[in-house]
Symmetry: C2
DNA sequence: GCAATAATTCTATATTTCTAGAAACAACGA
DNA sequence: TCGTTGTTTCTAGAAATATAGAATTATTGC
């Protein structure tokens, strides 16, 4: 499971529009992944900038990079992304006084 | 649904450890919420710093604030958090060439 | 070895964010 | 109205991040 630090790092990684764009392009690409050049074509961003953002995403382990000849294939780390998605609401309502039914995110209209 | 900008802003909001801490405390508290002072007690952070972070979270609409006398009650916006959680993988594999079965996040071992 | 391609690292500047003390503001109770 | 409590705004210096051109490294084909 994700530590608090890993989760924060993961969220920070997708917490910028250019990086979120990069990740979404990779998520759409699925398990095949995309080379840096292919991402660059789709997003129209300078190589050095893209490289910077990919490093961020890779450091957070949201993207995996595999070298293939002179290209680098980037793939979304689907397992990590699922863990991240689950993280926020996992402890929902643990301190709820009345009925501590865990895992129940009540809608915003449900306030007492 | 969340726009790309809203999603990035939301992720950025929980992309710092102190802010993630604040949000998790509120998620645990459930629909009752917590006053600023109560959060402060639990996290042991200066008021001005906490106020700064809460503003960030409120701007991203991840936390709702309601004035109550001289206190302010903060509540996690569970609906928003769910939307955020869903956002990352929603378009999974849309570009997949072979079998574009949407919504299927294959495990990391599935890369041929 | 040399040119071409793919990507990263170096560098520098601009911008944003973090942190927290101090001051200010708002609401309530006496 | 005056003091107290809860919270925000002001302020400022330190640190991190964004952006992108230029130089560099790595891989391949000839």
């Amino acid at each position: 499971m994700l530590t608090r630090e890993e989760a924060a790092q993961g969220f920070a990684a997708v917490g910028s529009e250019p990086r979120l764009d990069v990740l979404l392009v990779l998520v759409r690409a699925g398990s095949a992944g995309l080379t840096v050049g292919e991402i660059q074509e789709r997003l129209n961003v300078p190589g050095s900038t893209l490289s910077h953002h990919l490093r961020f995403l890779a450091a957070a382990e949201l993207v995996e990079q595999e070298k293939n000849g002179r290209s680098i294939i980037n793939r979304a780390a689907f397992g990590r992304l699922e863990a991240l998605a689950d993280y926020l609401l996992r402890e929902c309502c643990a301190d709820e006084t009345a009925a501590p039914r865990k895992g129940q995110a009540q809608s915003k209209t449900a306030a007492e």
